[in-house]
């Protein structure tokens, strides 16, 4: 579990994060959603230690990450995998070298075992026949998948994903969302995803934190979001008629499930 307590961050005069407190639940897909400029990316970079917080705490399983020096942070950092918005693959390395890099740097495995692990991760993200290609030679969706493979190669406890669907077509976005969700479940990882893709919110998120102008506006589960009366949240998520229809449909389904659950019905347990 990752706890955020009273996080504040300013750049010059501009206050980006205003007393943000939230909890990222263990073993779940946690989403940070919000409009562009709401502070999502800064919050995520504060969580992983790329940007130091002005005040507040980031607590990983009871350990205050913000109070640690660089050396003390290393074990937690090695338990973190991150997929960046632009994938951040190393240009000068091939796909397989990119995935092998964390193993080469930190693992004591033999070369044969490292290659086996690298291939397992590439297979897991369905990358085929691209081992020897450079990042410039593969598509955006493939880059994201290679980025995920590199992020999970050291069996992280925490996976951070920044805007996984940016620049991808809807079909590829679905594949990436499903992959992140599946990996979270299969490897029992605590995943934090930064997104403003409504499809991701509806399909992948277990626990959702909504940011508005640097503040946490709302926090709850995927189901709670349907019933939320928060105007700002509703205006953001259900901005289009299409999503309003989905909300009504989901509400009906959720009510029906609740009813069945009370009756001990099979569908309610799904």
């Amino acid at each position: 579990m990752i706890e955020l307590k009273n996080i504040r961050k300013s750049f010059g005069e501009k206050e980006i994060l205003k007393d943000v407190s939230a909890t990222m639940e263990a073993g779940k897909t946690n989403l940070i959603i919000g409009a562009s400029g709401s502070g999502k990316t800064v919050l995520m970079k504060c969580m992983v230690g790329l940007i130091p917080v002005d005040s507040g705490q980031v607590i990983y399983n009871g350990e205050d990450f913000t109070a640690m020096d660089d050396n003390a942070k290393k074990p937690i950092r090695q338990a973190i995998g991150m997929l960046f918005q632009g994938s951040a693959l190393f240009d000068s390395m091939t796909v397989e070298q990119n995935v092998m890099f964390p193993l080469d740097m930190f693992s004591t495995m033999s070369y044969k075992d490292k290659r086996k692990r690298m291939q397992e991760c590439l297979d897991r993200v369905a990358i085929k026949d691209a081992n020897k290609k450079f990042p410039a030679e593969i598509s955006g969706g493939m880059k994201k998948r290679v980025g995920i493979a590199r992020a999970i190669v050291l069996n992280p406890k925490y996976l951070f994903v920044d805007e996984p669907n940016s620049g991808l077509d809807p079909q590829t976005s679905l594949v990436i969302d499903k992959l992140i969700k599946d990996i979270t479940i299969d490897y029992n990882i605590t995943t934090v995803v930064n997104t403003h893709d409504m499809n991701t919110v509806m399909e992948s998120g277990d626990h959702i934190v909504y940011m508005h102008q640097g503040k946490k506006q709302w926090e709850g589960s995927n189901e709670d979001i349907i019933f939320s009366e928060d105007k700002l949240l509703n205006d953001f998520i259900f901005a289009s008629e299409f999503f309003q229809d989905i909300k009504e449909m989901r509400k009906t389904e959720a009510f029906r499930d609740k009813k069945w659950r009370h009756k001990g019905g099979e569908a309610g347990n799904k």
Binding site: V48, K73, Q78, F90, M105, F106
Partner: protein, 247 residues
């Protein structure tokens, strides 16, 4: 302006301090060091060969042009070429050229890695990126650039020898006679002192500007240009300071 100087100088020192930490994996650091040796050393060899040969050739022709008195032996031209190449042209001119070639490469490589979040990706993994990305570049420059300067000095003298013969200014025998007379080994020490100082300037200043770049492609270009300009000015400043101190 003064404030910005101290700001950059302080941040530059902090960057250097940040490089000193225990390597996460010595083998990977060695691999990166060797890669940088190839990039900086072998990668710059071609331009060094061309420039130094022609510098020596031009020095021979121009020295002959200025020595109009018949009382001065022709072998003096070789002495002038030798000392000019060793003391000034091989270390300073070659390092100014390398400041452009190597400096812009280092600044743009690190700048691109910063902008595309590759440095952040390594930080997340728990790698000390100052030590892993900057350290091997500076060490590789300190190893390969003095070697390139020595090669440049030899090739410059060779260029002078051939130019003297080809233009009919002096024979090989006269040139060799001049080369051997009044040789002072201290000049080689002075040239190497210069080349080590310049190697540090050429690698560390562009690394500083590239590592701390913010923005996009335009800022990478600006950082690269600034790095090369500052490196060249610092080389000229160090040239004067070392000459005043050591000669």
């Amino acid at each position: 302006m003064e404030f910005r100087f101290f700001y950059h100088f302080g941040r530059f020192l902090l960057m250097l301090k940040g490089m000193f930490s225990r390597p996460e994996n010595m083998r990977m650091y060695w691999k990166e060091f060797m890669k940088q040796c190839v990039d900086i050393g072998i990668g710059s060899l071609g331009i060094v060969v061309i420039i130094s040969t022609f510098l020596g050739a031009v020095t021979t022709v121009q020295t002959a042009y200025q020595l109009v008195s018949g009382f001065i032996p022709k072998s003096t031209i070789a002495m002038v070429v030798r000392d000019t190449m060793i003391i000034e042209l091989a270390p300073t001119m070659i390092c100014i050229v390398l400041g452009g070639v190597v400096g812009s490469k280092i600044a743009s490589e690190l700048g691109n890695m910063r902008i595309s979040e590759q440095i952040d990706a390594q930080e997340i993994m728990g790698i000390n990126t100052k030590a892993y990305l900057i350290g091997p570049k500076i060490l590789a420059a300190l190893l390969t650039i003095p070697a390139l300067v020595v090669i440049a000095a030899f090739l410059g003298i060779f260029g002078g020898l051939e130019a003297g013969k080809l233009s009919g200014i002096l024979s090989h025998e006269q040139f060799m006679e001049g080369l051997r007379s009044s040789f002072d080994g201290y000049n080689v020490f002075f040239a190497l002192s210069k080349s080590y100082t310049y190697a540090f300037i050429i690698s560390s200043i562009p690394a500083y500007y590239g590592y701390h770049v913010q923005g996009g492609a335009l800022e990478i270009g600006k950082a690269s240009t600034t790095a090369v300009v500052i490196s060249c000015v610092m080389i000229l400043f160090a040239d004067y300071a070392l000459a005043a101190m050591l000669l």
